[in-house]
Symmetry: C2
Subunit: 138 residues, 2 copies
DNA sequence: CAAAACCCTACCAAGTAGATAGATTTTATA
DNA sequence: TATAAAATCTATCTACTTGGTAGGGTTTTG
């Protein structure tokens, strides 16, 4: 399941993507528009900034804006940024790989192969869902 | 990600599926064979029993055995039993549906449609992974 | 009748999620 | 240059969940 953070991040990105080109959105604007607790959203926006999805302008009339095309922001990326691995176990993960500690037969745990199939399918689907695609289907 | 419970459950089922027909496995046997803390495994086996995947025989020479074919036990079922919904948000779930509380535009939240596509793909993949298929690919 | 298993309830420690609060820095402009 | 508005930083809090452990009680069967 997605964390609230990831869900809010998606909604915030969706909000930003719907604004006019060159428009800069204040945190409070996004919070109201997407129904997200403002102080919580602050942290999320900073994370999105660190992840290079958005950038910000400080000071008066500052705010946030997208720096990545809404066609190029995928659900997979947001999941990884906020909720980590897409695979069901670390040993089946591409970006968050860790060997399982409890596998006697190291290297080839009994679940790994099956979980990698699932991860592949899920990843493919998640890479197909972009912010742009979410807007169209709303 | 899978919880330890779900992972241990899969490993326990795998262990049971690998035994000779009519063999009954003691808890301690499974715990040693699959490297699972014994007392924790007890709870998991009870859950699997309630879920009608295994049954048990009490008393001396008692233990656990599969009552569902290893071809019919899917990863999707085990996930749902131990970790709940397969969808990324409750509003996109088949078996654990709940409306989202924070969506202004109730009924059609902006994420729902995309998340249902993902859930469909993931579910399809998870229904294809059975205990039997895991054994073959080990 | 006691050994060996199943079965149950309670508890606990550590970590995480989901926030909230307040101070500080940056910037535009009057 | 003062001030207001905005992002940014740091810290804290509470409730819940996870991954177990403890210690029995109950039932079956050799």
């Amino acid at each position: 399941m997605l964390s609230h953070k990831a869900k809010y991040a998606l909604k915030a990105l969706l909000y930003l993507a719907e604004q006019d080109e060159n428009h800069i959105s204040k945190t409070i604007e996004i919070a109201d528009g997407a129904n997200i607790p403002k102080k919580f959203l602050e942290q999320i926006l900073l994370d999105l900034k660190r992840g290079r999805f958005v950038s910000s302008k400080q000071g008066k009339f500052g705010g946030y804006y997208l720096i990545k095309s809404k066609n190029d922001i995928t659900l997979a990326e947001i999941h990884r940024l906020f909720d980590g691995a897409i695979a069901l176990l670390p040993c089946a993960s591409l970006n968050f790989y860790e060997p399982c500690s409890d596998c006697k037969t190291e290297e080839e745990c009994s679940l790994r192969h099956g979980l990698m199939i699932i991860r592949n399918e899920t990843l493919k689907a998640m890479q197909n869902i972009t912010i742009a695609s979410l807007i169209n289907k709303k």
